[in-house]
Amino acid sequence: MKLNTPQDLEKLRQDILSKRDPDRPCISICVGTGCLAFGAREVIEAIRAEIKTQGLDAEIDTKGTGCPGFCERGPVMVIYPQEICYLQVKPEDAPEIVSAIKAGKVVERLLYVDPATKEKATRESDIPFYQNQERRVICNNIRIDSKSIDDYLAIGGYSALAKVLSGMTPEAVLEEIKKSNLRGRGGAGFPAGRKWEGSRNAPGDTKYVLVNADEGDPGAFMDRALLEGNPHAVLEGLIIGGYTVGAREGYIYVRQEYPLAVENVNLAITRAEEYGLLGENILGSGFDFKVIVHRGAGAFVCGESTALMTALEGRVGEPRPKYIRSNVKGLWQKPSVLNNVETWANVPLIINRGADWFTQIGTKGSKGTKIFSLVGKIKNTGLVEVPMGMTLRDIIYKIGGGIPGGKKFKAVQTGGPSGGCIPESLLDLQVGFDELTDAGSMMGSGGMIVMDEDTCMVDVARYFIEFLTDESCGKCVPCREGLRQMHKILTRITEGKGREGDIETLEELSEVAVEASLCALGKSAPNPFLSTLRYFRDEYEAHIQDKRCPARSCQALTSYYIDPEKCQACLICMKKCASKAIDGGKNKIHVIDQEKCTQCGVCLDVCPSRFGAVVKISGEPVPPPIPEEQRTIVRKKKEK
């Protein structure tokens, strides 16, 4: 069925809604990649089978939805209309869940339990993880079937597009976006309105709008969740963008590693075309627009704007030297607006609710919300959407639940591999584009990796530089060769072979990479080193001068030692040691042969905590083994 006018769209929406009973129970299960990995597919099948068995087909609906964010406790299930939220649901829970719905009850054992208060939370919105968020963009993920356009229409989908096409000039849309001060969610935070305006004003009839879905930061999955869960929101934003800048074609550059996102967005395009929301003469407005999905071939650098465009053109994905902005000369030398998934998904919201609503929250320079993927040493791993200006402390402790295992917080790495590490002293920093940049890190696309006291910051820098060395395209010297040398030096430092002057050499290589690299990858690549040096210089010095790793993490700088006072000769570590480096026996205190030890740490892991005999040390000599004659443990006989 093709919709020919905005009124047709509204009528269809009413039709869809009239056929739906808002009080009818609906079981929504996240079938995003994370929950699928936890077995969500089996859960949804079990639920459907159970509904059939109980003969409730006509009474209970089911839905496979996008990711609501609480990946730590997947598979996540929400039951409407009460919004009862069950976590870590298993297929065998199906009969109980379905029976409970029938009886109007709640399966208590599947509810969230607050670890501190032991209180249960019935509704999704009662869970602290969600309670402290401001979910404007990602909130629809769990409300709609990610493969159904009717579901998107039922929650008001494409109404922003109808509003634009039926009564707003491109100039008016542009003004609204500019007024909202929407900044690019993909990395640099460039104002979207200004970017659009540049393309709109650029000469030429052929223009393009592009979606950057080449999300390559380790540990980041904001864009994936949006594209998988709510592809129509991205499409709607893109169509509005096309209308505004005068483009008739849009491209979605999505990484090959996101098969579900590719599947869902392709399906969304087909459905939108069937309804006439894409294609020729959209809603009778005379505006034609089509969208093409292009799958990346797995190169991190293709997230960089000019490399992405080069790859779209079918050439090797390398950035091109440019002094003309892509919004004036981009894809095939035509004006091209490139924004990332989350930026596009914000557009329909701004159109529907207005720039004034959008700017109500945020900091001076950063408005609206931002989705972060909160990962690492954090209790509640997942996607979180927070108002700009929330402090890192609130994100990590109120939403993330703090650090697991009673460990101490050390740093949070934001902005992806070329972002930086922010220390504990800056936990009250408000998140925003400029705030994070001032702290030596960046917003990036929203990765947030939490690190605890066991993390070595030199090793963190080495890890990220290694990643970037691997992902550098190799075209320009400061990035390719500079990173190669930086990686060598950092590796040497973590191996205890650091030398005087290494820090200075690293600083010089960083300066040259920042100043002289061809693209943003190279220019920002030294950030992991520069930010860790800025806040954790003492760790670098400890490695280089004292050959000591303060976090006791670098293998080459740590030793394991068994405290003879505490060893109970239980044989466990001896049996588990793969290098056969532990000598001991029944009633014979165990001793590690330092020559054979490979510092794998298994002995420390397996030593029963009530003994706590294995000690990890760094930067100090290992105490000599106790004399052979003192190694026998004489145990008191148990009293009868």
Binding site: A299, D470, S472
Partner: protein, 194 residues
């Protein structure tokens, strides 16, 4: 052709529209070090040696002169403490690959680059891409190309094409600043004749 007046190293220079800063400088007899530039080839912007400081609209920034287009009233400085430092480090990074390259040695003397600053690398190739681009853009044969990426990137002759085209051409040989190309060619040749 529209004339553009600009200043390079305090010298008034007239360039034609569409010229790069590097071309304008060379035409005026001002030298700027380059490795990946060739007059017959599209600008590559890879070696970054030709970086200069440009001042326009009250803003000063570093740009690569082989890509940046000449513009009216532009003020260009081809040497400064910062530029020299960048060139020195770039040369040192490349000398780890090709310590004996005459061109690198010549520049190294000029900028005080230490050829032993970094540990020697196995490959002589400095990835200027002259051979690859010359073969593609001028000869249009594509007999040699880049493979892989980042630090694993290297030039590689495509045996099927090279066997046919290279013996009678070899024009790229003299472009190579380090002799790596010849070595790669000899290797392919010997593999092919096995």
């Amino acid at each position: 052709m529209k004339k553009i007046r600009m200043q390079i190293d305090e010298k008034e220079v007239v360039a034609e529209e569409g010229m790069t800063v590097l071309e304008a400088a060379l035409q005026a007899g001002i030298s700027i070090p380059t490795l990946c530039y060739h007059e017959k080839l599209e600008p590559f912007g890879g070696c970054r040696l030709c970086m200069v400081e440009v001042e326009s609209g009250g803003r000063t920034r570093l740009v690569v002169s082989c890509v940046y287009l000449a513009e009216e009233g532009l003020v260009v400085r081809t040497r400064s403490e910062k530029i020299d430092k960048i060139r020195k480090v770039i040369l040192e990074l490349l000398l780890a690959h090709a310590p004996d390259s005459p061109k690198l040695q010549e520049y190294a003397a000029e900028y005080g680059a230490d050829k032993n600053r970094f540990e020697k690398e196995a490959s002589f190739c400095v990835h200027c891409g002259l051979c690859v681009r010359y073969c593609a853009e001028v000869k249009q044969k594509h007999a040699v190309g880049f493979i892989d990426r980042g630090i694993r990137k290297e030039i590689c002759f495509i045996p099927e094409i090279a066997a046919k085209e290279c013996p009678g051409c070899k024009e790229c040989f003299e472009l190579c600043p380090t002799s790596y190309l010849q070595a790669a060619y000899v290797l392919v040749e010997s593999l092919a004749s096995r």
